[in-house]
């Protein structure tokens, strides 16, 4: 059956399997951060954007408020809006598909669609990756949440270390040039400096503000040079 898949569908399926499995780490980390199994599953089913979900539980797990978790998750979700814009101009979907397409608009489905050269393949790539990741991600979130509950002391199992590696793994592919690395250094410094000074969760928002400010300053500098 796999051999009758088009290249876009094969790519989407591979990504869905690879990515979906790490829903298990989200599920386990979420319950150890203090959410219950239902809240954990609600995030995967309704929010369905891994980075924001990890941000939400990361803030809660470090003692931050629900409001700070909301803000961090929402800011991290802004890139999905940009993906929506790209997919709309790339695929030109019929209006009745847009509500469902929007929910499946994430890093993986966008990457699979934009990697194709032809319209029909882009559409197949988007839906295969989007639906595939959705099914896998939600199934493995539930398994992880139940396993996390059964584990007991999360630190002895290294689950706090798993969270560190999980965030680093999301960040790593974005550090491919000098500019993002400079941004990362600025954000890291802002976080370390403010961690002892403000309530838990807030350093992430300060780092976001400092990053945006740094980006705007760099951009103005680049425009001045161009003139």
């Amino acid at each position: 059956m796999f051999s009758r898949f088009t290249p876009a569908m094969r790519m989407g399926t591979s990504i869905a399997i690879a990515v979906g499995v790490y829903g298990i780490s989200f599920g386990a980390l979420s319950v150890t951060a203090g959410l219950n199994v239902w809240q954990t599953c609600a995030l995967s089913a309704l929010m369905f954007t891994g980075g924001s979900q990890f941000a939400f539980i990361g803030v809660i797990g470090s003692g931050g408020t629900g409001a700070a978790a909301w803000a961090a998750a929402t800011l991290l979700g802004v890139r999905n809006g940009v993906y929506g814009m790209q997919l709309k101009s790339l695929i030109r979907p019929p209006a009745k598909r847009i509500p469902l397409m929007a929910q499946l608009t994430i890093d993986e489905s966008t990457a699979t669609a934009t990697a194709q050269d032809h319209h029909d393949e882009r559409v197949r790539g988007f839906w295969t990756a989007g639906v595939g990741v959705y099914v896998m991600w939600n199934g493995f979130t539930l398994i992880g949440a139940l396993a996390g509950n059964a584990l007991g002391d999360p630190a002895m199992w290294g689950l706090d270390g798993a969270a560190v590696a999980a965030f680093l793994g999301l960040l790593w592919p974005r550090l491919h040039a000098k500019d993002p690395i400079a941004l990362a250094v600025v954000a890291a410094l802002a976080t370390i400096i403010t961690l002892p000074l403000v309530p838990p969760g807030i350093p992430v928002l300060i780092a976001a503000a400092v990053t945006a400010g740094w980006w705007a300053w760099r951009r103005r500098g680049a425009e001045a040079v161009a003139e």
Partner: protein
């Protein structure tokens, strides 16, 4: 109970942003500024979350086995390991550190 409100509120916001991408007028979409700012914000937030989860402890800083997890994760990523392997490497490193008596 209040946590539920923030969970659902964050889900609504996430969907609203996704939908807005499709519904905003084309004239706005043609500006590359949005993409650049979203990219910069993503790097800044993910870096901050990585740092906070590595050294943050309540309102303060603690250096412990999570630093081993950061190093193990970086090595795994350097070796182009799949994501799940990176996460497991981080868990193993901090678990080994703890069982060896490190904080």
């Amino acid at each position: 109970m209040t946590l539920w409100i923030w969970v659902l509120g964050a889900c609504v916001a996430a969907y609203a942003i996704k939908l807005a991408g499709y519904l905003l007028p084309q004239s706005l979409l043609d500006r590359p500024v949005f993409g650049e700012l979203a990219g910069a914000l993503t790097v800044g937030l993910l870096t901050s979350l990585t740092v906070m989860n590595t050294v943050g402890k309540g309102q303060g800083i603690a250096l412990d086995s999570r630093l081993l997890a950061l190093a193990a994760g970086a090595i795994a990523l350097r070796l182009r390991a799949p994501y799940i392997v990176v996460v497991i490497a981080g868990a193993l490193a901090s678990a080994i550190g703890r069982r060896a008596g490190l904080p």
